[in-house]
């Protein structure tokens, strides 16, 4: 026993161990990294200097900041073996409420705090409560919330959008930039980094993985499974509400129809990034790469619009989604043998 253990330790310290560790660290992202690389090479060849310059990342980040924020939120719910279809609905209601508050004289940042806190509370008390405590199916609950929330947004506005052009600080936040790097991008990256830190270095993050990986084990280990799941939906809805505020600034108007269907794009980003529907598997970094991938396709195809119809973006995203899940499955199959 003892010498065996020692042998193992010495072997572990060798360079083979480091290679293994590196493989383990990159492993889950190999598919998405390869495809992202291929995409960059493809557009680089097609567009040359038009694509390979600093404007590309600046523009991709600005145009996908809100998608990144939504995807980070969605990752929380997928990791606890759930899903939140309602993010676009929550976002729309939040955007409309921000518009209403601003026109009635509420300061911009107070409005932001109100929708953010309101979103978290809504996610916890309605969506999260129904799913985690009442044990209702997440698909049904969040589909219902999506329909209802979008309906509320339309009903509150009679379906009309309202310009928020005169609210300076909101518009600066939504469209401003430092040296071409948008404020939105900074905010989204900040949220992403915070999420990475929470997942990796807090007890809550590890509990999310435990609850998603094996709910019964987590419960028997004394983890409050209901609270962890409620918190995941609260964070997701809070980020969606916050994204609604930012979206108002980004398009300088409150539009009840805004970003229809973005929940599916966000889902595609999260899934391409290696997060699994079964729960407990996936990372925030994967989600970031997924968003980067989708953003790059869209941007590249817009640049190449003289050569390729940009509507092919969704076709490519859809295909890549299935292929990347296929690659991941193949990798896991090989590992389990």
């Amino acid at each position: 026993m003892q010498p065996e253990a020692e042998a193992q330790q010495t072997a572990s310290a060798g360079s083979g161990y480091l290679v293994n560790r590196a493989q383990e660290a990159i492993g889950p992202y190999i598919g998405i990294l390869l495809m992202l690389g291929a995409l960059i090479i493809l557009f680089g060849v097609l567009q040359g200097e038009d694509f390979i310059n600093w404007d590309s990342p600046k523009s991709i980040l600005a145009n996908n900041a809100i998608l990144l924020i939504l995807s980070v939120g969605l990752t929380f719910t997928l990791l606890v073996a759930g899903f939140d279809l309602s993010i676009a609905g929550v976002l729309a209601v939040s955007g409309i409420l921000v518009g209403k508050m601003l026109t009635s004289g509420v300061p911009t940042y107070l409005a932001m705090v109100i929708v953010l806190v309101g979103g978290v509370i809504f996610g916890c008390l309605v969506t999260g409560f129904a799913i985690a405590k009442l044990d209702l199916n997440f698909f049904v609950v969040t589909l219902g919330v999506l329909l209802a929330a979008r309906g509320v947004a339309l009903a509150l506005t009679n379906g009309e959008s309202k310009s928020l052009f005169e609210y300076k600080s909101l518009n600066t936040l939504g469209t401003g930039a430092v040296d071409g790097w948008s404020y939105l991008g900074f905010i989204a990256i900040g949220i992403f980094i915070a999420a990475v830190l929470v997942m990796r270095y807090t007890g809550f993050g590890r509990m999310i993985y435990a609850v998603g990986g094996n709910t019964e084990a987590a419960r028997l280990a004394g983890i409050n499974v209901v609270w962890v799941r409620i918190a995941a939906y609260g964070i997701c809805a809070g980020l969606a509400a916050f994204a609604g505020f930012l979206q108002d600034g980004y398009q300088t108007s409150a539009n009840p129809d805004t970003l229809k269907g973005i929940e599916l794009t966000a889902a595609a980003a999260v899934l391409v990034g290696g997060t699994s529907f079964v729960g407990g598997v996936g990372t925030m970094l994967g989600t970031f790469l997924g968003v980067a991938f989708i953003g790059t396709i869209k941007y590249g195809l817009i640049l190449a619009s003289s050569q390729i119809n940009q509507y092919w973006a969704d076709v490519i995203t859809g295909g890549v989604l299935v292929i990347s899940v296929g690659i991941d499955r193949y990798r896991r199959l090989r590992k389990s043998r």
Binding site: R200, Y201, G203, A210, E216, A217
Partner: protein, 509 residues
């Protein structure tokens, strides 16, 4: 664990009662799972909790571990009354449960799994390296050689169970409840586990042992408490402990002919396996099973027994070789084709591979006799009634949900489906796993009837006594190769264990 250096705390008094459950009752719907059950464990004691399936063992275990709240009754530790119902409370008072179902998070690291009960509070920092360091001594205690930072899924099957035990130890418990901890272990890993339990008992830790394997209780327990139909029916002290005594108290009657092999004339070869190369096996295998014969495949967990059965049944595609039944060659890799040729498999994992759990008895029996166009309900009902009769399935009716049946009766439904196809060859993979003594006896009886009808049976079971009691011939597998063939007369537990462990004929002689 936390003893002063140089001092031995080995032989603590066994008499002082420490954990006591009194008058525990629990009802699920109309089922009275537990009725006024008393139960106690002292320091450094291993108490076996015995009973048939559905007798209330797991319910009692869950209540003591706080995973389930009792309807009435009290639990006291050293005389202090506990208010349980939340796992956290029980853990804090030193009670840990190793649950029947595997409870690992496969994508978290080994260390995180072990220390799942000791994760930091939600908003407190989590330090991976510190957790790995904390897990290392626990891995050493349970004798598993592995990097604590590696994912749990990289562990070998036997090690996983021991890591589950390590997880229980991580909460520094005084009482550990083991619910069927050995049911997924091979003989060698069981021995490793028992060594560990004995060592921990010497340090004053107590165990509540729930197992279907009677010899394990006799070997390990200081005392056995027997439950029947949710009631405590008796207790056996160390010196009274033997398999027959436990079994008869469990079922409430003397079990005669527990392992009964009827003498049946052996006919012509029915199943002929020729140079079958199972995926992952180093070399092809060949053997026959004759009409009226029971052949057992023995070997450790992971020796490739299930793979052989599943390959014959068409669930896996072989890399070469042929299988024929009654002279007809079986198609490879298609369960549908193989069933059509008269070979059916009772799979190892009843819930995962054997049953549609959201459906009823009738549909589970009839599954596989449906045509694409039209489901014939009358024929389904006939088949279901016939199975219920023939297999003596205890159920409220053929439309009763499959979940309302006990494990043993669910297993009979699976066997019933296989028999509804009137197979010539029956492949049985762990047909008695997780079912109680009474149901086992019925399954054995049934196997006897089947060979009397001239069918051939290929059996895999981890219970050596079953192998010895039932089989006419035993093929021993080791690392996916057939390493020995024993006739009924020559077979013994030692002999099989020896070959399973990789011993060779020459050394044995």
């Amino acid at each position: 664990m936390r003893r002063p250096p140089g001092r031995r705390t080995a032989f603590r008094a066994l008499t002082e009662t420490m954990l006591e459950a009194k008058q525990i009752s629990k009802t699920f719907g109309v089922t009275r799972a537990l009725v006024d059950v008393d139960f106690s464990v002292g320091a450094g004691e291993i108490v076996a909790l015995a009973g048939e399936n559905g007798s209330g063992k797991s319910t009692l275990a869950k209540i003591v571990a706080g995973a389930l709240a009792p309807d009435s009754g009290t639990i006291t530790i050293d005389g202090d009354e506990q208010r349980f119902g939340r796992p956290r409370d029980a853990l804090d008072r030193g009670i840990a449960l190793v649950a029947q179902e595997p409870t690992a998070c496969p994508d978290m690291s080994i260390a995180e799994n072990i220390l799942l009960t000791r994760l930091p509070r939600p908003l407190s920092p989590f330090n991976r390296l510190r957790y790995n360091a904390l897990a290392r001594p626990i891995l050493e205690t349970v004798e598993v050689v592995a990097d604590p930072g590696a994912p749990f899924s990289s562990l070998k099957a036997g090690d996983r169970e021991l890591v589950e035990i390590g997880k229980a130890l991580a909460s520094e418990p005084r009482y550990v409840i083991l619910d069927e901890a050995t049911s997924r272990l091979g003989e060698a890993d069981v021995a490793r586990l028992f060594r560990l339990l004995r060592r921990l008992r010497e340090q004053g830790m107590s165990f509540i042992l729930i197992t279907h394997r009677l010899p394990e209780m006799v070997e390990l327990a200081d005392r056995a408490v027997i439950l029947r139909d949710g009631r405590r029916v008796g207790e056996l002290q160390r010196e009274q402990l033997n398999e027959e005594a436990i079994a008869s108290m469990m079922v409430g009657r003397e079990l005669t002919d527990y392992y009964h092999k009827r003498t049946v004339p052996i006919g012509k070869p029915m199943l002929e396996v020729r140079d079958l190369l199972v995926e992952g096996a180093p070399e092809p295998i060949s053997f026959d099973v004759r009409a009226g014969e029971i052949v057992a495949l023995a070997g450790l967990v992971g020796a490739g027994r299930t793979e052989v059965l599943e390959t014959i049944a068409g669930g896996r595609r072989p890399h070469g070789g042929t299988v024929s039944v009654d002279g007809h060659t079986l198609p490879a890799g298609t369960p549908r084709g193989v069933i059509g040729c008269g070979v059916t498999l009772v799979p190892e994992e009843r819930h995962r591979q054997g049953l549609n759990l959201v459906s009823n008895v009738r549909e589970n029996v009839a599954m596989g006799m449906w045509s694409l166009i039209r489901a014939n309900k009358r024929r389904e009902q006939q088949a279901a009634y016939q199975s219920v009769d023939q297999m003596r399935i205890r159920t409220a009716g053929i439309e009763a949900p499959i979940r309302s049946l006990s494990g043993g009766n669910q297993q009979k439904v699976v066997i019933g489906r296989c028999l509804a196809r009137d197979p010539k060859v029956l492949l049985l993979d762990e047909p008695t796993r997780g079912i109680d003594v009474g149901a086992k006896a019925e399954v054995f009886n049934l196997i006897g009837e089947l060979v009397e009808q001239g069918r051939a049976i290929l059996l895999v079971t981890s219970d050596l006594l079953e192998v010895l009691g039932l089989a006419d011939r035993i093929l021993v597998l080791h690392e996916r190769r057939i390493v020995g063939e024993l006739s009924r007369e020559k077979a013994s537990e030692e002999r099989i264990a020896f070959l399973s462990g990789g011993g060779t004929h020459q050394d044995a002689a």
